[in-house]
Amino acid sequence: MLGVIVLAGTAVTLWLSFVATPADAVQGEAVRLLYVHVPSVTVAYVACGITFVASGMWLWKRTEWWDLVGSSAAEIASVFTAVTLLSGMVWGQATWGTAWEWDPRLTSTLFLFLLLVGYQALRAASPDRSSRARRSAVVGLLLVPNIVIVNRSVQWWRSLHQDATLFRTDLDFRIEGLMLFTWVFATAVGLVLLAWLLMHRFRIGWLANRVEERRLGDALTARRAEATS
């Protein structure tokens, strides 16, 4: 159901971004990249927010459910952060002429990606379910403060370094009418995609836990048999 909405929505977004909308006065055709770049960063941030909330809820309620929500959202967030970085670099190449500019947004997104990679590595390294949940909840809870601190400091850093010689076209393009609609529509499609992915990713985590429990059940039987032999 959600999958169908996403597919149809993606088709409409593609049509809107490539055909229906005009080229931007300042940025030209490159503006069409922003219809995928900006929604993907929005999805990434929303997913991080979900991880943050779910981590806090886990620390409070300590249920499998919140652990799985948090970790699922974090994995999806890392995919969308990677996509944001890549499309941002292509956009930078098209607009600024360099793929990597020490732009506050790009820089802090890179750090967000590294934070998320660390989260996944910690989860992968933790041997059992309870310590995995505990440790990743702490990292998940610190994710948002870290994003905020990194973001603020990088932004502040760039604003103090006013390099007037650098040509800069900012992301803040004039946006109205059909362009605004396209952007809002693409974001909505992205959020539906997030919901769909979250459900499926959650299900994977849930099934993996069931598989683990079945293995444990078998191991318990084997262990009890050991006693009688």
Partner: protein, 222 residues
Amino acid sequence: MLRDAVLVAGKDLRLEVRTRVGLGQVLPFAVLVLVLFGFALDPDRGILDAATPGLFWVTVLFSAVLAVQRAFAVESAEGVRDALRLTSLAPGGVFLGKAAAIAVQLLVLEVALGVGVVVLYGADPAGWALLVGTAVPATAGIAAAGSLYGVLAVGLRVRETLVPLLLLPVLAPVLLASTRAFEAALDGSPADGWPWAGLLALFAVVYLGCGIGLYGTLLEES
């Protein structure tokens, strides 16, 4: 809690006095990094002058990772973790104690590195108030974040590689802020530097708070 913090910090510092891992290994490592930077960025071309504050803090950061690793390697020894969990130490106290011991070692390291920078890179120390006002909150922040992320990896087989991956992105703002503040101090324009010192203080407060609040969860079962 403070009593426990003093006890843990005292134990860690006593361990350092007995083993001299910090003095005998981490500090020489830091000096070595300074020298290597000197080779990489030819001192005659003036790059070194401009990069001195950044190199100083990058070196501190790498040394801090080593110090954190060391601080928690001690606690992951066979049986010690069990023994520690059976004590009635307050988790917040353990956190503060570990952080304090790391901070003391880092401050000593920073003084030594500062001398090294002056001697090797020919930096001209100026703006003392800002230098100290930057180093103290920066060190507190590094130590607090370090002991929070350091304990996360305790008991994992991949501890050595996981700690830098978790810790360094978190410490990136500290590197940024302390570098800018030091640049301002050395340029003789301390007014530009104090906001960064404020940011460092904020970072330290956030991480000290988070550590005190979250350590209990991490010590419960690790």
